[in-house]
């Protein structure tokens, strides 16, 4: 790929902002619009932009494919783990109330963890999808 100075500089400027916005959407999701799914998609968009500008091989060096598979599974484990934990504490599946001392703190902690799991899985799955599509051209 021929290096393109303007594209590289603009991408390097934009990528941190996109990741910051994704984190905002992730952790502000319990007060405003957003949440794990949207944050995961925005997060993966930053890496997709990187691999569009700097090439697929460079991007795969940053996030190897086997890591992505582990991350995709990890998010589901976090989500289901919160559910099973509340089962073990004597509540219903995904009943956040028992996770902390009082009900409000428990609800807050529970939704934060579950959304984190959703975000990790969605970001990893979107990147797996993109690499699967874009990687076929190399064969």
């Amino acid at each position: 790929m021929r290096p393109n100075l303007i594209l590289h500089v603009v991408a390097k400027f934009l990528i941190p902002l996109i990741i910051l916005f994704a984190l905002y959407v992730q952790f502000h999701g319990d007060f405003g619009p957003g949440g794990g799914f949207q944050a995961g998609v925005i997060f993966s968009a930053a890496f997709i932009l990187y691999s569009l500008v700097f090439g697929l091989d460079t991007a795969e060096k940053i996030i190897p494919a086997h890591w992505l598979r582990v991350l995709a599974a990890l998010g589901v484990v976090i989500y289901a783990g919160v559910g099973v934990l509340s089962l073990l504490l004597g509540g219903n599946y995904l009943d956040y109330t028992l996770l902390a001392g009082d009900q409000i703190a428990g609800q807050h902690l529970g939704i934060l963890l579950v959304e984190l799991g959703v975000g990790i899985t969605v970001a990893a799955a979107m990147l797996i999808l993109f690499f699967a599509f874009a990687g076929r051209g190399r064969e």
């Binding site: 998609v41 569009l52 956040y96 109330t97 409000i104 609800q107 939704i111 999808l129 874009a134």
Partner: protein, 182 residues
């Protein structure tokens, strides 16, 4: 009133984009128009007080799926032969036209039984929404209750404070209608 005007404008643009997608044979232009279609839908969702759905539509519809379609386009031909050039001679457009018209009329007829947008007697307002409106603040410490429809604890406090309960209840209608989005 301005809402209705914006709705009509956006829906007109949606219809124009859809027709253009069907007519154009340059696949690159079609992919770009799909992105435009998603962006217009996102604008429509914002007008209908559903920023969460709009968010998803803009991120997935206009963002990720456009990139995935471009990646696919890099592997296949750039343009598509017009359908009428490949169609068999005995092709008659009347039967599909009738089928589409009848199906479309049936769908429009079906909407007559759906409660109006934001109607207070809609199932979304009479089922669990009332419980959330009454109990969300004491149970989760969050002022906005509507997103408890999907996730307990998430809220839209600014919406609740700014536009009152009607907006919240309208939102609840939209959220129940689009649970698969998020």
């Amino acid at each position: 009133m301005i809402d209705v005007f914006i709705d009509i404008t956006l829906l007109a643009f949606l219809a124009i984009t859809a027709v253009a997608i069907v007519r154009i044979t340059n696949l690159f232009a079609v992919v770009m128009l799909f992105g435009v279609f998603s962006l217009l839908s996102a604008g429509l969702f914002v007008v209908m007080d559903a920023p969460d759905v709009a968010f998803t539509e803009a991120a997935v519809g206009a963002g990720i799926s456009t990139v995935l379609m471009l990646a696919t386009l890099a592997l296949v031909r750039r343009s598509q032969k017009p359908y009428y050039a490949e169609a068999p001679r005995a092709h008659r457009p009347w039967l599909p036209l009738i089928v589409v018209t009848v199906t479309g009329s049936a769908l429009v007829y079906g909407t007559w039984d759906i409660p109006g947008f934001g109607a207070p007697d809609a199932p979304a307002q009479t089922h669990v929404a009332r419980y959330y409106i009454e109990n969300a603040l004491s149970e989760t410490g969050r002022a906005g209750e509507l997103s408890r429809l999907r996730y307990p604890g998430r809220s839209h406090g600014d919406l609740y404070r700014g536009r009152g309960r009607t907006a919240v209840a309208r939102w609840a209608t939209l959220e129940t209608g689009s649970q698969d989005k998020g």
